[in-house]
Symmetry: C2
Subunit: 233 residues, 2 copies
DNA sequence: TAGATTGTTAATCGATTAACAATC
DNA sequence: TAGATTGTTAATCGATTAACAATC
């Protein structure tokens, strides 16, 4: 009986892993590991121990080992982690090799800024096009990305297997466009519209960016900092 | 003896609050409360209970009451919260009325995009200027914000009581500019350079933005989602 | 083999939720 | 007063850290 329980335990764990039910705290840390390992790789470093990485990243070595072990034993006792191997594994976890396609909706300042970066390519995401209502922009290219009319969005998404829609439109149109995207089979939305976008279906993943929140946090910290310094009255 | 302990307890708590040592989990939620309350205010709503707000924000009512009480009793039993009052209080906490001044360093695409928004004004932060090396931009205005040469940055900061530097420069120059800012008395940095900026001093607050991390998280979730749907083999 | 460092379990810490007495 | 809802304490839950046996 005991051995069956043991087996079941193991099974449960593996099942869990396969299902990807990893705590969101861990998931949010993965991109950071990815960045640091990428840098180390570029520096030509071959191996690293959790202790060394812990110093670099200013987190505990324990946390690093715990985090990585949610996905499998990527290290080797007595040696540490092979940087190239670990980087590859984390890249895979993060979907870099899934060949995701993205479109940017809204060719305003922010849309342009995003189009100008290598943010997408660098993470294995292909920018297929930008969409806008402004007829002056349609037909042009912005940093190599063609601009199409927003009316052609649903068709384009269906035909080109678009996975991700990047929303840099005014908040008034965000919800409608999201529905359109969902109906056209797009399953991920990266939302820069200044509002909390809710997913129209549990199938669709919505990632909201709130830059303003970060600015406010900075101000809060600035304020508490100066408060602290005030001489005790 | 017991009563002294009790008093001490109370004192400790108040001291804690005054010092602003509130858990960072709570602090990160403040801007979100601020946004929702702002919307409610605009909608002309006067009062709200934690239960109602909880439904709106999709968090527990318990958490809302717990969070708000880190800063004081903003509500009233049997009534709920006065929206205008609560909004004002949270605004104050977040430093909206501190009159912070900001400069944007780097007048590239992202710098322009930030200059185009009302992100700063809306949060009580004044944009005093932008700085760049490009002589073609110097002297111009971008969405009403004058562009200066980067060499004049330290002087400008000292003379104009600049609190926040927004970094939209290539990552190579980020660390140097941060040191310059610190020496010129700027105590907050909002860093969009694609790297982990470390504060040169515990006095200086650095807020790092990593848009790419958010994109990766989206991809991870997209990937796990499709995995889940695969028929069990 | 001895030394190093992981993978993993157990202990600790902190954050969230539930419950309810205080009070408007 | 009775009803509603907060402020706050206690219980639960989850995440982080510490410790160490497994193993390269």
């Amino acid at each position: 009986m005991e051995s069956i329980d043991k087996l079941k335990g193991t099974f449960d764990k593996k099942y869990h892993e396969a299902k990807g039910t990893v705590s969101s705290a861990v998931i949010k840390r993965l991109p950071r590991y990815h960045r640091y390992l990428g840098d180390l790789l570029r520096d030509g470093k071959l191996r690293i121990s959790s202790a060394e990485l812990s110093e670099l990243m200013e987190v505990t070595a324990s946390q690093i080992r715990q985090d990585l072990n949610c996905f499998g034993g990527f290290g080797q006792q007595g040696y540490g982690y092979n940087i190239r191997y670990l980087y590859t594994k984390i890249s895979e976890l993060l979907g870099v090799s899934e060949g995701y396609n993205a479109v940017i909706i809204g060719a305003g300042n922010l849309g342009k800024a995003l189009a100008a970066t290598h943010m997408f390519e660098r993470r294995g995401v292909t920018r297929l096009g930008m969409f806008d209502i402004n007829p002056e922009l349609v037909g042009k290219k912005i940093y190599g990305t063609p601009v199409y009319h927003i009316d052609t969005l649903p068709d384009f998404c269906k035909r080109n297997n678009v996975h991700i829609g990047v929303l840099t439109v005014p908040k008034e149109s965000a919800a409608n466009i999201t529905d359109t995207l969902y109906e056209a089979g797009v399953m991920g939305v990266w939302n820069f519209a200044n509002m909390e976008l809710r997913s129209p279906s549990p199938d669709m993943i919505v990632e909201n960016i709130h830059l303003g929140d970060s600015l406010m946090t900075l101000c809060y910290k600035l304020k508490s900092r100066s408060k602290e310094e005030k001489p005790r009255e």
